[in-house]
């Protein structure tokens, strides 16, 4: 029995939904519903759309802003990401990322071509002294997101990982499913047959490694795809050092993390990249792949058992 597969443009990249053995329902119909969910989420959470719910929240002068359950979930995920990463993954740096030049949707491959960026120096990133993600909270009873006016949320990879989890929750009854949010993957279903996952080369070559996973999530974060040249002519990318607010050059150009949930995989991948070669492996407890700026590939933690799905943190 083949699986239903839908591929479509979303989140400034390519998204795919694979469904097989939907309980009592047509696989194609279930896949179409998942696509509708993701497209709706993109419309609500894109920071590049002035009319999106996220953009309206970022502009809102009130402290407590009424928000849909989806936006509240994203706001909660921003806090979770900050806590899990000790402040390394900070999704409140919208002003800084725009100052670095990332003001419009930049699909991978449309910016500067992937290249080995020789950074003048490389050092691990650090958390901000005054982190704004601490100040974000969600009032579920009132249905609001609470934060000091001026604190802006940038969903970015956090939103993709969270949305992969969201769609996965609706597909749990299927025999097998996979949600691919521009490279943030969430897999699951009743079948225990593992699926091969190729880790792309950050410099556009052949895949650097192949993972095998039946359930769980895989996310990749890197500095070579959504990259551009800054106003000073220096290479810039979307992964910021929270302390400096500028693109981070840590010695790792790509980190892939395996984790039970999409959000955790995304957080771990970003934290591993920002930690640099010395501490990156510590952020990959479920395994992963690191690519150093010299092109060396480091496989962390051989996957002997697939991680068990857990509740989204």
């Amino acid at each position: 029995m083949s699986e239903a597969r839908l591929v479509f443009d979303c989140f400034g990249g390519t998204v795919a939904v694979h469904v097989r053995g939907a309980a009592g329902r047509d696989d194609d119909e279930v896949a179409r519903e998942a696509r509708a969910t993701l497209l709706d989420a993109h419309a609500r959470l894109s920071r590049f759309e002035a009319g999106s719910e996220l953009s309206r929240l970022n502009r809102d002068p009130r402290e407590a802003v009424p928000a849909s359950p989806l936006l509240r979930r994203l706001a909660a995920a921003v806090g979770t990401a900050g806590e899990l990463s000790g402040g390394l993954v900070d999704a409140t740096m919208l002003t800084e990322i725009e100052a670095a030049g990332y003001v419009a949707s930049l699909a991978p491959g449309l910016g500067a071509p992937p290249q080995r960026v020789v950074a003048p120096f490389s050092s691990p990133a650090c958390k901000r002294r005054q982190s704004a993600w601490h100040s974000i909270s969600v009032d579920e009873e009132a249905g609001t997101v609470v934060r000091p006016p001026g604190v802006k949320i940038d969903g970015g990879g956090i939103a993709k990982g969270m949305l992969a989890d969201l769609v996965a929750e609706s597909l749990e009854g299927c025999e097998a499913f996979a949600v691919d949010c521009c490279g943030d993957l969430r897999l699951g279903g009743g079948s225990s047959r593992p699926r091969r996952i190729r880790v792309e080369d950050p410099f556009g070559g052949e895949p650097v490694h192949e993972l095998s996973l039946a359930t769980g999530a895989v996310a990749t974060s890197g500095t070579t795809r959504r990259a551009w040249l800054g106003p000073d002519g220096r290479p810039a990318h979307q992964i910021l050092d929270p302390r400096s607010g500028r693109p981070a050059f840590t010695g790792i150009v790509q980190a892939t993390a395996v984790a039970p949930s999409g959000l955790l995989a995304e957080v771990n991948a970003k934290a591993a990249l920002l930690s640099g070669p010395e501490g990156a492996a510590d952020w990959l407890p479920f395994g992963g792949v690191l690519v150093h700026d010299g092109g060396e590939v480091e496989v962390v933690g051989a996957q002997r058992t697939a991680p068990q799905p857990a509740a989204t943190p």
Binding site: H18, P108, D180, S191, R193, R198, E200, T223, T224
Partner: protein, 122 residues
């Protein structure tokens, strides 16, 4: 031609005629015997083939094998039940005729390997 010579020629003619009839009879007998033998052989081949369940009319060869296998399995199960019944001290109720089992067991669909995915910078 004197009478003795004429008599001799008649006898020769009769002998030739008898020999000719004997040869014809022998040939006819051989043809009949060979035909019967061929028919018997062919009939035996078809009988054995049908008796073993390999009916060539059935297109699905595996189906025929499945039938034979199912029959063999039923026989084994029947023997096992009989042995259990003998071993049990209590009297066994008369066996109710089981519902007819499907002749062809459903073949499980081969599981296709899931399509590989790629993870890259999101």
């Amino acid at each position: 031609m004197d009478p003795i010579e004429r008599h001799e020629k008649k006898r020769d003619a009769w002998r030739r005629l008898l020999a000719q009839r004997q040869r014809a009879g022998m040939l006819r007998g051989r043809v009949i015997a060979i035909s019967l033998l061929c028919f018997g052989l062919l009939w035996a081949v078809v009988f054995v083939q049908m008796a073993t369940g390999n009916d060539p009319v059935l297109s699905a060869k595996s189906g025929a094998n499945a039938t034979a296998t199912a029959t063999a399995k039923r026989t084994e199960r029947h023997r096992a039940r009989a042995a259990e019944a003998e071993a049990a001290a209590e009297p066994v109720e008369p066996e109710v005729e089981a519902a007819p089992e499907p002749e062809f067991e459903p073949t499980p669909e081969p599981e296709i390997e899931p399509e590989p995915l790629s993870t890259g910078q999101s």
